[in-house]
C-alpha cells in the first residue's frame, strides 16, 4: 500500500521531484567539495576523460578484460599515475600483494623509467592480504602522496571502498585500484575503466612499439558512462591520445636489425 502511494507521488509531482533531486545532488556535491567540477564531461573525449580522472582525487577502478590483460591494466594505471605525478609532487605509493605464481611480477625500475614513472618516487609496499593493502592505502592517502596504485585480490566491500574514497579526497590524492578479472565493481568509485591489450595504430618512431590499450569507461560519477576506444600512451611526451585509424594499411610486421651488442 505504501508502495502505491509512493509511486503515485512521483506521478503526481514528477517534475518537482526531478528538480529537487537535482538540487539535493548539487547540495551534496557542494558539501563534499565537488562543486567546481564541470558537469559537461560527456563533451570531452575519452583521452581527456582519462587525463581528468588522473587529476581527480578519489578512488578510480581499473580492471583487465581477461586474465592475460593484467599487464595492460597495470600499464594504464601506471599511465594515470604518471599523469597524476605531473601536477602533484611527492611519492607514489605502489601497494602490491605478495607475489603469487600466476601474477605478472613486480614493477621493474628501469621499465618504470622507460614508461615515464620516476623510480625514485616509488615506494613499494608489499602486503600479505587485502586487509593490509587497504590499511596501507588509507594511510598513504591520508599522508597526501602524489598518487597511489593499489592491487587488490578479493572483493572490495562498500564500507572499505567508501573509507578509501574519503581518505583519498581528504588530501586530494588520486587512488588507482587494480581489480582482478570479474567480480563486483566498486560502488563509490569515481571512474571505472576496463582495459584490454591492443596493438598501437601509430607507427613506432623512437621505440620498438607503443603501449596501447582498448579502453572502456564503464562508469563515471556525475556523467554519462559511455566511451570506448583505442588509447595510446606516449612514453616520451607522457600523454594519452586516442589512436586515429591510419589511412593506409597497417605497417607490416617488421624485424629490425640486431642492436649493438649490449654488455
Amino acid at each position: 500500500m505504501i508502495k502505491e502511494r509512493y509511486s503515485g507521488d512521483i506521478n503526481h509531482h514528477g517534475v518537482d521531484k526531478h528538480d529537487s533531486i537535482a538540487a539535493l545532488r548539487a547540495q551534496i556535491a557542494a558539501q563534499q567539495g565537488w562543486a567546481g567540477h564541470t558537469q559537461d564531461k560527456h563533451l570531452l573525449g575519452l583521452a581527456e576523460r582519462a587525463q581528468h580522472a588522473a587529476q581527480e582525487a578519489g578512488l578510480h577502478e581499473v580492471r583487465p578484460q581477461t586474465y592475460r590483460d593484467g599487464p595492460a591494466a597495470l600499464g594504464f594505471a601506471c599511465a594515470l599515475a604518471v599523469l597524476a605525478g605531473q601536477t602533484r609532487k611527492g611519492a607514489i605509493i605502489w601497494i602490491a600483494q605478495s607475489i603469487s605464481p600466476h601474477d605478472f611480477g613486480l614493477p621493474y625500475g628501469p621499465g618504470l623509467r622507460d614508461f615515464g614513472l620516476d623510480p625514485r618516487r616509488i615506494i613499494l609496499v608489499r602486503t600479505k592480504d587485502d586487509a593490509q593493502a587497504l590499511w596501507a592505502a588509507e594511510e598513504g592517502a591520508r599522508a597526501g602522496v602524489a598518487a597511489l596504485i593499489l592491487q587488490t585480490a578479493g572483493p572490495l566491500g562498500l564500507v572499505p571502498a567508501r573509507r578509501l574514497q574519503l581518505a583519498a579526497q581528504a588530501r586530494g590524492s588520486p587512488l588507482f585500484c587494480l581489480r582482478p578479472v570479474g567480480g563486483e565493481g566498486i560502488g563509490p568509485a569515481l571512474t571505472r575503466w576496463r582495459v584490454a591489450s591492443a596493438r598501437a595504430q601509430s607507427l613506432p618512431l623512437t621505440r620498438w612499439s607503443i603501449p596501447a590499450w582498448h579502453l572502456a569507461l564503464e562508469r563515471q560519477r556525475r556523467g554519462p558512462s559511455i566511451g570506448a576506444g583505442l588509447m595510446e600512451w606516449n612514453s616520451d611526451a607522457h600523454t594519452l591520445c586516442l589512436a586515429a585509424a591510419l589511412g593506409d594499411r597497417d605497417a607490416p610486421a617488421q624485424q629490425t636489425a640486431p642492436l649493438r651488442k649490449w654488455a
Binding site: 600499464g75 621493474y108 625500475g109 623510480p119 615506494i123 602486503t127 621505440r207 603501449p211 610486421a253 629490425t256
Partner: protein, 482 residues
C-alpha cells in the same frame, strides 16, 4: 625435593632446608637419600622450565638497571648479575636497592643471597660463599672483605682443587703469594680472575637485552590494569624522554617499551623510525598499535607495576614548523608514513628501488627497505634499451619457435598459452660478467622484445648460443611490457 638423572644415576638436584636438616645434600644418590628417609617424596627436575624461569627473572630485574645478566650457574641455583652503577639512587642508595630486591624476591617465594660489591667477581664470590642475607662490600676494604672466602669462589674450575691441595684455602692465602710462581703453577686464568676480583682488570657484563642509549622509567604504587591507564603513563614517559632528547638536539631512531607485570613477566613493544624523531605524537602512533585493545592486545596478567621506555638516539636537526620549505615538510611526512607502514607491516615490506650499475637485468635494481633513505643510483646509470614494466620474480621457461641461429621468436608457448609474434626486436646480447668470480658456467643471453597480434608484449631471452654447446639453448620469459 627435586631429582634428576646424571651419569645414569638418579641424584638429588635440589633440596629444601628441612631436607638438609635431615642430612640430605645436593648431588646425593636418590637411593642413599631413600635409605635415610624411606618415605621421601620427590619430583623430577624440569631443567628447561627452570632455565625459562631464570630468564624471566632476568627480565624482571630490568626494573633495577638495563645491565642485567641471568645464568644457571650450579645445580638448583641461579645467578642474577645486575650492574646498578648510576641507578641505585632511584631506590634510595645501594643498600635500599638490595633490600627492595630482597623483599620483592621473598614475596615471590624466592630465597636469595644478595651481595653488593665494586666488582662483578667480588659480588659473585660473596653471594656464593658469603653470609646469608644482604652483604655490602665497600671499595675501601676490598681485599679484607674477600680474604676469608674459599678459593672455589674464584671461578677457576679445576685449579681451585689444586690450590686447596697446595694449602691455599682462601683468597687471602693466594693474595699473599708472589704472582709469577702462581702463574707458573696454576695458569694465567687464576691471575686474571684475581685481577678481575680486585678491579684491576675489567670484566664486562653481557646484558640479556642490549640497552639503548636513553631511558625513562615509571614505577607505580598500585598495579595498572587497563590499557587506557597505561597509555596515559607511557605517553607521559615518552613525552619526558622526547623532551630530554629534543633539548640535546637528538631524536629517537628506535624505541622499546617494556611493561613489568606484577607476576614478573614482561610485555615488550618495539618500533623504529626512518628518520630521527622527537615528536611524541608520531612515536606514540608507532608504538600504540601493539598496545591497543583488540585481537593482538597484550596479556597484562594481574596488572602492570612499572614501565621502562628506551630509545636509541641520533642527532636530529631542529626544524621550524612554519618556516620549513615545502620539500622538507614533504620529506618529513613521507618518513612518518614509512614509519607507520613499517611498524605495522614490517620494515622489510616497505621498499624503495635502488639502481645498481650492471647489465644483468635482475641485478640492475635492488629493492631496499624504504626506512634506509631515498632511492639511489638512478642518476649514474645509462639508459639501457627499453625494459619491461613488470619483471617476473624468476625467469619462466617457454617453448619457442625461432630461426636458427639468432632469429627472434615467431611463436611461443608460455603458461600453457600459445602466442604468435607479430613484431619483435632483438637480439640484445647480454654476456655474463666474466670478470666476476663464479660466473664460469653462465651462458650469454639474447633478449628479444616480442609483441603478439593482440598487443601483448613480452621480454624473452634465449640462454646460450646455437653451436656453442651440445644441447640446444633454452628460452625464458623474463618480463612483461604493459
Amino acid at each position: 625435593m627435586l631429582v634428576h638423572t646424571q651419569a645414569s644415576a638418579r641424584r638429588l638436584y635440589a633440596c629444601g632446608p628441612q631436607a638438609q636438616a635431615l642430612g640430605l645434600y645436593q648431588g646425593q644418590a636418590l637411593a642413599d637419600a631413600q635409605a635415610i628417609i624411606p618415605t621421601l617424596r620427590y619430583a623430577d627436575a624440569d631443567l628447561a622450565r627452570e632455565r625459562a624461569m631464570v630468564d624471566r627473572l632476568g627480565l624482571w630485574a630490568l626494573r633495577y638497571s638495563p645491565w642485567v645478566h641471568s645464568q644457571c650457574e650450579s645445580q638448583g641455583s641461579a645467578e642474577l648479575l645486575i650492574d646498578i652503577q648510576g641507578s641505585e639512587h632511584l631506590f634510595g642508595g645501594a643498600s635500599g636497592l638490595a633490600h627492595d630486591l630482597r623483599r620483592r624476591l621473598s614475596a615471590r617465594g624466592i630465597g636469595a643471597h644478595i651481595a653488593l660489591a665494586p666488582t662483578l667477581g667480588a659480588a659473585i664470590a660473596l653471594a656464593r660463599f658469603g653470609t646469608q642475607g644482604v652483604t655490602c662490600l665497600d671499595p675501601e676494604d676490598m681485599r679484607s672483605g674477600v680474604a676469608h672466602l674459599p678459593v672455589d669462589s674464584l671461578r677457576i674450575g679445576e685449579a681451585a682443587g689444586a690450590l686447596t691441595r697446595a694449602g691455599l684455602k682462601t683468597i687471602g692465602d693466594v693474595l699473599r703469594i708472589a704472582r709469577s710462581p702462581l702463574a707458573a703453577r696454576f695458569g694465567t686464568q687464576l691471575l686474571s680472575r684475581l685481577d678481575q676480583l680486585l678491579g684491576l682488570k675489567p670484566e664486562p657484563l653481557n646484558p640479556l637485552i642490549p640497552p639503548l642509549s636513553h631511558r625513562a622509567q615509571r614505577l607505580f604504587c598500585e598495579p595498572l590494569l587497563t590499557l587506557e591507564a597505561l597509555h596515559a603513563q607511557w605517553f607521559a614517559a615518552l613525552s619526558d624522554l622526547t623532551g630530554a632528547l629534543a633539548a640535546r638536539g637528538l631524536g629517537a631512531r628506535r624505541l622499546r617499551l617494556t611493561l613489568h607485570r606484577t607476576d614478573g613477566g614482561v610485555v615488550r613493544a618495539e618500533a623504529g623510525c626512518a628518520a630521527p624523531s622527537h615528536d611524541p605524537q608520531h612515536l606514540a602512533r608507532l608504538l600504540s598499535h601493539r598496545l591497543t585493545p583488540g585481537q593482538e592486545s597484550p596479556d597484562l596478567g594481574l596488572g602492570i607495576e612499572g614501565l621502562t621506555l628506551e630509545a636509541a638516539a641520533e642527532p636530529a636537526p631542529a626544524r621550524q614548523k612554519t618556516l620549513d620549505s615545502a620539500a622538507g615538510a614533504d620529506l618529513h611526512e613521507i618518513n612518518a608514513l614509512i614509519d607507520r607502514l613499517g611498524s605495522r607491516l614490517a620494515y622489510a615490506r616497505i621498499e624503495r628501488l635502488d639502481a645498481h650499475a650492471t647489465h644483468i637485468p635482475e641485478a640492475a635494481v635492488i629493492a631496499r627497505p624504504a626506512p634506509l633513505g631515498p632511492a639511489q643510483g638512478w642518476e649514474d646509470i645509462l639508459h639501457p634499451p627499453e625494459r619491461p614494466l613488470l619483471m617476473l620474480p624468476a625467469a619462466e621457461p617457454a617453448e619457442v619457435i625461432a630461426e636458427i641461429p639468432d632469429g627472434p621468436p615467431k611463436r611461443f608457448r608460455w603458461r600453457k598459452t600459445l602466442y604468435e609474434a607479430a613484431r619483435a626486436e632483438g637480439p640484445e646480447r647480454i654476456a655474463p660478467q666474466w670478470w666476476r668470480h663464479g660466473t664460469k658456467g653462465q651462458a650469454t643471453r639474447d633478449y628479444y622484445r616480442v609483441e603478439d597480434a593482440q598487443g601483448r608484449r613480452f621480454w624473452l631471452y634465449r640462454e646460450g648460443l646455437f653451436g656453442e654447446q651440445d644441447t640446444s639453448p633454452k628460452w625464458f620469459v623474463h618480463g612483461v611490457f604493459a
